[in-house]
Amino acid sequence: MSKAGRWGLIALAVVVVVAAFLIARPGDDDGDSGNQAASTATQTSPTATAPSAPKPPPDGPSATAIELKDHEPVDGVVDVDARKGDPVRIVVRSDVADEIHIHGYDISREAAPGKPARFQFDATIEGVFEIESHEAEHAGKDALIARLVVEPS
């Protein structure tokens, strides 16, 4: 192959690769992200789907509820899904005194029997963040009780 032919082939490959990227990349509100938003809403923050509704009371149906028994999540480790910028509400009920910590956002709240730990904040950082029980951690047990998953908006 001649030198010009080689460079032509490289140029063609670059064009194809760039074009494919532009076509494949989802836009801001095409079907793909819509689907993900819908699946998000099934787990958390229905506020995003019903923006006109009055603000639900804290600890209402909009909050993700996590129940701990002896520092362990009753329903296993769940994902709390959110999109960047969404408000997030998490309520952790515990049958014993505990301290719950959300990594990355670095928020800690006390939980006691009858006094759940309530979290309310905006999902400003993208990524997957561990939510842990400090008491379990001190006892040397598996501290992970849930994960906060924040997708780009």
Binding site: R6, V17, F21, R25, V128, E130, V149, V150, E151
Partner: protein
Amino acid sequence: MIEIAHGIVGRSDLPIPEWLFGWAAAVVLVVSFVALAVLWPEPKLSRASFRPLPGLSRVLHSPPVDLLCGLAGVLLLVLTVYAGFEGSQTPTANFAPTFVYVIFWLGLVGLSVLLGNVFKAFNPWRALGRAVSWIARTAARAPMPAPLSYPERLGHWPAAAGIFLFAALELASSDGDTPQTLAIAALVYSVIQFVGMALYGVEEWTERGDGFSVYFALFARISPWGTRDGVIGLRPPLAGLADFRPLAGTVPLLAVMIGSVTFDGAAEAPIWTGMAPDISDFFQTLGLSPEKALELTFLVGLIAAIAIVYGFYTLGVRGAQSVGGGFTTRELSRAFVASLVPIAFAYVAAHYFTLLLYQGQAILTLSSNPFGFLASNPLGEVGTDIFGTADRSIDYGVIGATSAWYWMVGFVVVGHVAALTLAHDKALTIYSDVKLAVRSQYWMLAVMVGFTSLALWLLSQANQ
């Protein structure tokens, strides 16, 4: 699910989205076929130019610079060990875990690729070895040759073992991120280095037997900065790998390097999180405690990942051997091993990019307060604020998930292109017949596409 690895951070990456995975996989194929068509018919990298920079070389190799760098390395080692024993045992509060696993283990990889073999200057074991040998020589007023010559059979095997043990400590041990464990590990490693240097000579051992020296020096060969006849100079990137001479154990070392990152990635994937509890239960029925059973499970997973990487590469080499040319599997295996170095870099860069970017910031806080004690506590332990940065927190806004995805995929694709280029160049130098060289490259191409696809798949499997 039990988190062992990287207990020091509570954040991890989102998996790359499906469309990006598909696009990147397509790019890998396009790149590979274009490469076959357009790559040069004469070896180029192996005969690359080298521009010596004697001025720079004189400054960097001058005794004061040498001494200062060595001293800095020794001080950091001492600080790591001291903080590990005496400081807070909370992994995130103590200097040792973040320094060892993030700044040293990951940061130096990036630095080596950009600036060449920086670690050689700061290597604390080499610095101490040279100091001791200088004192001994001065006292004896005679040259002190090493008692043994480094055996050829040993090659890179001690380095492969060292990196494997470090990976096992990081990924399989349940208290691998405990400051005290790290301090003990650093001391044990130091003792082994001193014994090796005493037996075979400081430079002889360091270049082959010290796992970290070998590890960083391999990545430094990607960089345009190199040394020839003791003079620092510039060369085309990757040319250092074209000149690389593999030893016994080099291929297993690369398998450990790629396999350990593979395992770390796969450990978050459903394939492993589904399997691990069963394996762990099996070990418990054999009478192991739950913790030991889990550690053993992860060790088995780590070894399996390394074996898979080794097996896959060997398979490709056997294929290349089948096209003819009269080479043994071992000769070919060693000939092409340098092309795995950019792949290993792509694995490390893609997998740990955000960890370095985020957790790396913590070193500012930790260097101000290396022991990690609070301002004051009932035991009388007092926190410090040496540089006034002890209260800094990690800024998670430095990069968004979308940009991080593009960087990760970028590393993987660029690593793939570099690996293909190197393998192609090497084939042209070892095969007398260009046609045979190209035919052998179908097999190496399959190996590279396999490793690259695995890297992309791991990125798409994170935290599923």
